[in-house]
């Protein structure tokens, strides 16, 4: 019991430390470009935390998360710009709507297994994406929403700079992490992990596995939706292109690179992948002057393949293993005088 409390405390103090670190960053980094990268990392982290809940804890893959991200973005964009509804209400409406859609669609989808499930989520994502492109009157079609999306504001404070927006985005990302952490360490979280451990035994202990898979699917879609809303109010313009299959794959890559079985995985994965992509964008033109942004996509695929082959459990556990190995060698060295 005592050990358990200690573990919990350690977990909590890690989160507090990390929060302090995150909120002190914008005072140290004054470069707007870096700050904007960090804002995007925060938004993507929110999506990937949800995806990790689904993949790491319920053991279900989703290749449709970019579309749920898009649902949030379009809900915010359309409701605020076309109908003049308060942005905060629009975010809420997007989240509730996405939750309802994914929950209802999830009922038949989660009767499926493995490959079929992956394909069904992919199909759902593509259908939603086609709707973004085709419903021109509502969404503006391929060229995007014609009217500008307003910035978010808190009271009189308009969040129109990277510096201001950073705090909102990361407050939500951290809330997403903390809430996900709560889920993981709850009755529901254990039920979800038990599905992963042995679905057979989980059922025989009275766990209604289908119900929980469905709920966590809807929750992770809601995460994506909120992140999408934040994206829309940050960029203030949306078109269908960021919500296609490639983005869904990108989210899976981030989740997998970070590692699925720790709440720190998403941050690490998103940061590693985003920084690498950004770094390549600036380094490669210097090495090969005639190259455009094309290298990004190659590297992206290669990272995925290499991670999966050499670090199948992701960076987090890869790093942990390195650390444990180092500590083990150090202890051995300490023992032998």
């Amino acid at each position: 019991m005592k050990d358990l409390t200690r573990r919990k405390r350690l977990r909590h103090s890690l989160i507090v430390l990390f929060t302090l670190f995150i909120f002190s960053l914008p005072f140290l980094i004054t470069n707007n470009y870096y700050l904007s990268v960090l804002v995007i990392i925060g938004i993507h982290t929110t999506v990937v935390v949800g995806l990790c809940l689904l993949m790491g804890y319920a053991g279900q893959i989703s290749l449709g998360h970019a579309a749920f991200y898009g649902l949030g973005a379009y809900a915010s964009g359309i409701l605020t710009s076309t109908y003049g509804i308060s942005p905060w209400l629009a975010i809420l409406a997007g989240a509730v709507g996405t939750g309802l859609i994914t929950y209802t669609m999830g009922i038949p989808i989660f009767r499926l297994k493995e490959h079929y499930l992956a394909l069904a989520t992919l199909g759902l994502g593509l259908i939603i994406h086609v709707i973004f492109v085709e419903e021109v009157e509502l969404t503006g079609g391929p060229s995007g929403l014609s009217k500008g999306i307003p910035y978010l504001s808190i009271g009189k404070l308009v969040l129109n700079t990277d510096f201001r927006y950073y705090f909102l985005v990361w407050a939500i990302a951290l809330a997403a992490i903390i809430l996900a952490n709560n889920v993981v360490h709850s009755r529901i979280g254990r039920a979800l992990r038990s599905i992963h451990g042995s679905e057979f035994a989980a059922k025989s202990l009275g766990v209604d596995t289908d119900k929980f898979k469905l709920q966590v699917f809807a929750l992770s879609a809601i995460y994506a939706s909120v992140a999408g809303s934040l994206y829309a109010h940050y960029i203030t313009f949306i078109s269908p292109s960021p919500f296609g299959l490639m983005t869904s794959i990108q989210f899976v890559v981030m989740a997998v690179v970070g590692g699925l079985s720790s709440i720190w995985g998403p941050i690490l994965g998103v940061t590693a992948v985003t920084l690498l992509t950004e770094a390549l964008k600036s380094i490669i033109p210097q090495l090969i002057p005639q190259a455009g942004g094309e290298y990004e996509i190659v590297i992206f695929g290669l990272i995925l393949v290499i991670t999966m082959i050499f670090l199948p459990e992701g960076l987090t556990s890869g790093l942990l293993k390195l650390y444990e190995g180092w500590r083990y060698r150090k202890e051995r060295a300490d023992e032998i005088p």
Partner: protein, 293 residues
């Protein structure tokens, strides 16, 4: 045009695309049956086939020779990939393997982008001549080439599986991998063979479709997915199922695009997919046997 001839028109163009889907689906099924992997890079084989073909024809290589060289080149590339990436991850979980093939597909597409750029290429039809009139509907000669190729390939595949050692070994692996190994069939060799064979099917699909579409670095994405849908419609483990699934998907898609809305063409394929999965989770032609515990 009367409704009847209009319908015939849709069915004919549907069968043309359906033939392509069937070839891609067949590749999926063969790899899945032999290795258990869902190969998301299947569509890229199609793109590579088309790209090599366009390049070779551009270099004034005669069409039949270019066709053969293109197929062989894709087989070599895929063989190397199987050897390098798939083999080292043999013990990974199914989800990991899916992610690996997604990564491979992304990487191949990226490399194609570097080599061939973003501009679309065009390939001249194999034979010249105007559209042919059939019962009020028209069909271009290249469509006949596609349908013909599909039929020939299916017949060849059938004979390969029925009458050659490799085919029999592949089938043995499909039915029971463990027993196949006991019989001295190396699953590694079979995995390589399955990939290379699927590569040839994909490349051929890409080559025959090239004249009726734009050849771009990202053409494989949708073709691959549609092929996957076709394979699933057919039950994912049945080769005749894959072919029927492909043709059915092509026709339904074409009818849907013509009668409902062409913008929703890609959506239709996936709506059908979801409906089929929901109503019959094992695929239309699949057997949904219960697992023993």
């Amino acid at each position: 045009m009367t409704l009847a001839s209009e319908l015939l028109q849709y069915i004919l163009s549907g069968l043309t695309m359906g033939g392509i889907y069937a070839l891609v689906a067949l590749g999926f099924v063969i790899i899945h049956n032999v290795t258990g992997i869902i190969n998301f890079a299947q569509g890229e084989f199609v793109m590579l086939g088309a790209m090599f073909m366009v390049t070779l024809v551009g270099l004034k290589v005669p069409t039949p020779l270019a066709l053969i060289i293109s197929i062989i080149l894709v087989m070599i590339v895929v063989g190397l990939i199987e050897f390098g990436a798939i083999r080292s991850a043999r013990k990974a979980s199914p989800v990991t393997l899916v992610i690996i093939t997604i990564g491979l597909s992304t990487a191949i597409r990226g490399i194609a982008l570097l080599v061939w750029g973003t501009n679309p290429y065009r390939l001249e039809p194999f034979t010249k001549g105007g559209p042919i009139n059939i019962g009020g509907a028209t069909i271009i000669p290249q469509s006949l080439w596609i349908i013909g190729t599909t039929v020939v390939v299916l017949v060849l595949t059938y004979f390969l599986f029925e009458y050659t050692y490799f085919g029999k070994a592949l089938r043995a692996c499909m039915v029971n991998k463990f027993a196949a190994r006991l019989m001295g069939i190396s699953p590694q060799k079979m995995s390589l063979f399955a990939f290379v064979f699927s590569a040839a099917l994909g490349a051929l699909a890409g080559i025959v479709i090239a004249p009726i579409t734009y050849v771009t670095y990202d053409m494989g994405l949708m073709l691959g997915l549609k092929g996957f849908v076709a394979a699933v419609l057919g039950g994912l483990s049945s080769t005749p199922g894959a072919v029927i699934g492909g043709l059915a998907l092509g026709v339904i898609e074409s009818l849907g695009a013509g009668l409902v809305s062409s913008g929703y063409k890609d959506g239709i394929a996936f709506i059908i997919l979801l409906l089929v999965l929901f109503l019959k989770p094992g695929g239309v032609f699949g057997t949904s046997g219960s697992k023993r515990v």
